[in-house]
Amino acid sequence: MTLTEPAIAESEAASGAGGAAGPGSSDEAAAAPSILAQPFVTSDASEVGRLFVLTSLLLAVGTSVVGVLLSLGRTEAAAPWELFGGFNAYFRMWTLYRMSFMLLVVMPLLLGVALAVVPSQVGAGNVAFPRAALASFWSWLIGAVVIVVSVLAGGGWGAIDGVTGNESDAMALTLLGTGMVIAALLLGAVTVATTVISLRQTGMSLLDVPPFSWSMLVAAAAWLFTLPVAVANLVVIYADLRGRPAIAFGRAESPDIWLQLDWLVEQPAVYIMAVPVLGIAVEAVGAAVGARSSRPEAITVIVGLFGLLAVGGWSQDYFTAPQDLRDGLVYVAFGLAAVVPLAALAGGAAELVLRGARTRDRLLDTRMLGAGAAMKLLGAAALAGALRVIEPLDLLETTATWAVFHGVVAAGLLAGVVALRNWSDVLLIGPLPAAAGRGAVALLAGGGGLLVLSDLISAFLADAPDLMALALDGSAVLNVAAFVGSVLVAAGAAAAALGAVSALRTPLVAGGGAT
């Protein structure tokens, strides 16, 4: 018998899990690490994926609660920041909400799903670098804690009224945490991409890879071409922060730190979160109706195109005059083109439904409902993004930016719930409770939809650029709608987290994973 790469990975995983004894050996139980030690030493990617998923769902609850408070403040149109005790504190939470949903919730959630699911989809025993996957989780978690603590200590990504000495130290810590989180996500992405490229089953070409694994390969590539640019920004910001008084590159306005990083949560870069959503949606619809696409290569091309349009490192406008870039043809073309692959994928999903069994049970399956809602929200986000780049509408510096963001985030969370339902045996050990799944899908879809709509309509009503929606005193109804949307998203995240925890019927460590 020849020792193939998957077999090597398996043997490495086995040895890393705490002993050379083979499965079933009586020595294995004796050598197995304790329950507490297991999350620190495991080499089973499905366990690492589970850790990512559970932690990011808990952080989703915390982040969405921040969102509820922010939107509650927004209903106090005269001074939204009073709820937080000052403008700077409001700004800190406003930026934390955005960075957290991207780097601490949606991306790690989908990465966790990938770590658990991709090896089994491509026929590998484990991911390519199981210890790197574990290092990715822990460095991500430590980075997340550093971010949250430093923001609460007065740090964050800039200050509206300039940076003081004490804030400067806390901000340096926030930058460190952000760098750690990005590096950890990149490490996880490299692990997943290498698994798909190098460890897939003999005879399986890249075109034969299942849609979710392919979407994660595309997403990993998009992350690898986008997130390092943010790291470069962090290096410049850190050097500038250490050499106070800040040079801020001759731009007088504050907060200069956030202005160097905001491109990450705006289109097109914000779409890098959403690439795996496409793969999850196609697989979930197919599994729900029991059908396979007649044109899998078309799905491959569509996902690849969306990934290409999500690469966004080039779109930062801090170092140039913003109008030069954002009124440019490339930016407009990227914004408009993002709708095309999503429309094409909707067609692909519709074809699956037509080819499959369209019984009432199947059509009302949580996976079908969740995938449908995720695709609709993503489509709405892309549509809002397309409107945003149309110059005569003048929506660039308005809340249309956050309509895109909220659509993508809600779609990512919904895709996470669908994945928990679809691959619960790998991700959760036990099945995700039906009530929790349906409840989370309904709440996230409703909340996400309300947020997208309220942000988009607010953008049309705004008389002047108003990214923080501070002057929308004429749209009280929309502000209330945004508040209700935030509450629903928070409730949906809580339902998903509770459902996931309750599905852990056996201890996290038992059995060593179901991959």
Partner: protein, 194 residues
């Protein structure tokens, strides 16, 4: 005519360690290229508005050229190490890795001289800030490459060369070549065109 049924050939797959290292190397290069892009853009902006970027004569080309030549030599020695690892030639592999590490240390030493020579203050202006950001990041990348090479060196001393080790040296070599490419950017953008 008789035919002999031969076992199927083992599937040829890209080498896992090398593939992972290439992906990570690509990410590091993207970050560095973004940093250099900021540098170039800011310098262009300064010149467009008639501002001086570096004071005349403050940045010398001589030490930078010496570093470029050192790193070009290190590309040869690191490839020597890769070939030695493939051939399971321990003495050559160890010598090649040692020489490469020495070249890396020489470049860091040269950078120390450049910093002392220029005596820029980090908060002196955009040019000084970005000078330290770009060169400092390069030094950090180089130290990372040296660490990778050092690990493979130690592994080569502790056991026999094998497929994994050869791939590890190959991965470290790919990263090293990328570092030299990055320095070429630094050399041309920061020191040559100033």
């Amino acid at each position: 005519m008789r035919t002999t049924a031969l076992p199927a050939a083992e599937a040829t797959r890209p080498r896992t360690v090398v593939v992972g290292a290439l992906l990570a190397t690509g990410a590091v290069f993207t970050a560095f290229a973004a940093l250099v892009a900021v540098y170039v853009q800011q310098r262009q902006l300064a010149r467009a508005t008639g501002q001086e970027w570096f004071p005349e004569g403050s940045v010398e080309l001589g030490p930078a050229g010496m570093m470029m030549m050192t790193l070009v030599l290190s590309m040869v020695t690191v490839q020597w190490a890769v070939q030695a690892a493939r051939d399971e030639d321990r003495p050559h592999g160890f010598i090649a890795l040692g020489v490469t590490l020495m070249f890396g240390a020489a470049v860091i030493n040269q950078f120390w001289f450049v910093y002392t020579d220029t005596a820029f203050a980090i908060d002196g202006g955009r040019a000084e800030l970005l000078f330290y950001a770009v060169t400092g990041s390069f030094i950090a990348m180089l130290i990372g490459g040296m660490a990778m090479l050092a690990v493979t060196t130690i592994r080569s001393l502790m056991g026999p060369f094998g497929r994994d080790l050869a791939h590890g040296v190959q991965a470290a070599g790919a990263y090293w070549h990328m570092c030299v490419l990055c320095y070429f950017l630094v050399w041309y953008v920061v020191f040559v065109t100033k």
